[in-house]
Amino acid sequence: MIEIKDLAFSYGNVPVLKSITTSLEEGRIYGLLGENGVGKTTLLTLLCGLKKAGSGSICTDGESPFDRTPSLLEKQYYLPDEVAPVAMKAEVFAKERGAFWPLYDHEIFLRIMKEFENDPSKKMNQMSAGQLKKTYISFGLATGCRYLFMDEPTNGLDIPSKAQFRAAVMKYTPEDSTIVISTHQVRDLENIIDPVIILDKQDVLLNASIEEISEKLYFDYGTTQREDALYREALPGGFLQVCPNTGGEESKVNIEALFNTVHAHKELIKGMFNK
């Protein structure tokens, strides 16, 4: 479990995160959403120990990630948005590097590479950006880590690969793992992320499960405009509207609409979910 308490971080005099308190539980795939520059990547790099918190603390299984202890590094993997093209064959790179993660399974790496239709015998510095990303995704999933942090993992992936990515995440991550995926491509990951974390400038606007969201908000895909709609979007042949769920009805959560609703009614949503 990851516990974040009063976390703050600044780049020089520019504050990025301010007093963030939340916890990330095991067995969940968190979707980390937010506008450009709100600190999604910063939060991910703080979670995996690449940056030191300005104040406050992060505690992962009782350890601070910035201590970079082997015992914690063995349990986590961070996939950055930009990955390094190494002058090695993918299978050699994975085998040699994987030896440092006790749960790394080379067979799983090769299997995911095959599912991605990616050639493991190809040199990584000769791969396209998408192929390189798929190699790192395959490696990350094959490490069997409990904590997996991914920054824009679907960037650069072609359409079939996005579906393969979703399938691989569901299939190859341990049940008790905590996965945090930062993304702008919510539609790519809509079906797998739960809960959703929405970051605003320096703050967490929402950290709630899909079940909790659908309990409190109703996503109406009808043809008539509702007066109580917090957010409305025209769709072909009707509207997508987000309203307070006063009747306890069930609906399918649309994450993009949720994001826009949260941003349009920050205080209302915070009050609604912090009750």
């Binding site: 970079r68 082997p70 063995e74 950055p80 590097r97 440092f100």
Partner: protein, 279 residues
């Protein structure tokens, strides 16, 4: 689990690190190490093309690999190699993508740092000198005008100084020590530069050294201007006479202290840089 230092994990990491360095730097290392062969081939080529053509520079004739030419080339190539290899080998640590991957590898900071120091201060310089000497030996096998080996030539150098009475004392004995001293100092400085600067690592390190030497010269100049030089030099002379029998020992002692302070100081600085680097 020992999170500070585990010998088994260190061995595994060192092997991984060495292999990565070899994969990335072998062409660079071998190119520099093969300079005697390359130079010799170029000289022979020009000699053949020019029908006995030789390049004369005062006392040196480059038409044949004399010991003077070989030692000069060796010194120049070694200095250039030692200046550039730390940034080529570990400069990636300041790069966002590669540096992040390095930090995330499950080994302790001390293990990664120890491996880096061992590779930079010992393994690569030794491998380079061995490869260079083999390359030089190959030239000497072909051309009998070589003279003695570079190694024995360096080893026979002694850093002897003479005082006014003609008495001599040796600073740190043999030239091989002088070579090791130079290697440790150059590599320590340029490794720290590689870990500190994000771009133009070598140029910025040289510029920093230049600024530091200017500042130190100014400080020393100011300090000297405030003291009575004559009485100070009398004191030094008196001290030297007092310890005349042990002057070799003291000269060596202070040289070693200077080396230790520089290398350990730069090592500690590099350690804190590696320990606290953020991406």
């Amino acid at each position: 689990m020992n999170n500070t230092f585990n010998f088994k994990r260190f061995g595994k990491y060192l092997a991984y690190d060495l292999k990565s360095v070899w994969e990335e730097q072998r062409v660079f290392l071998l190119t520099y190490a093969l300079i005697p062969v390359i130079t010799y081939i170029v000289i022979v080529f020009f000699a053949l093309v020019g029908h006995g053509f030789s390049m004369d520079f005062s006392d040196y004739t480059l038409a044949r690999p004399s010991i003077a030419v070989r030692v000069s080339v060796f010194s120049l190539v070694s200095v250039i190699f030692l200046i550039f290899f730390p940034s080529r080998t570990y400069g990636f640590i300041t790069d966002k993508a590669k540096g992040s991957a390095w930090i995330q590898l499950p080994a302790s900071r001390l293990e990664k740092f120890s491996s880096m120091m061992l590779i930079c201060l010992v393994i690569i310089p030794v491998a380079f000198f061995c490869a260079y000497l083999i390359s030089d030996a190959l030239v000497c096998l072909v051309d009998k005008n070589c003279g003695s080996s570079i190694f024995s030539s360096w080893n026979s150098l002694d850093m002897t100084s003479y005082d006014e009475d003609g008495k001599s004392f040796k600073i740190a004995g043999k030239g091989i020590w002088f070579l090791a001293n130079g290697v440790l100092q150059i590599v320590s400085v340029f490794l720290l530069g590689a870990l500190t600067f994000k771009k133009n690592k070598v140029a910025k390190t040289i510029l920093t050294l230049f600024v530091i030497s200017l500042v130190l010269s100014a400080i020393i100049g100011l300090a000297v201007s405030t003291i009575d030089i004559e009485s100070f030099s009398d004191k030094i002379q008196a001290w030297a006479l007092n310890y005349a029998d042990n002057i070799d020992f003291w000269a060596n002692f202070w040289s070693n202290v200077e080396l230790a302070v520089i290398v350990v100081g730069l090592g500690i600085w590099s350690w804190f840089r590696v320990k606290n680097i953020q991406h």
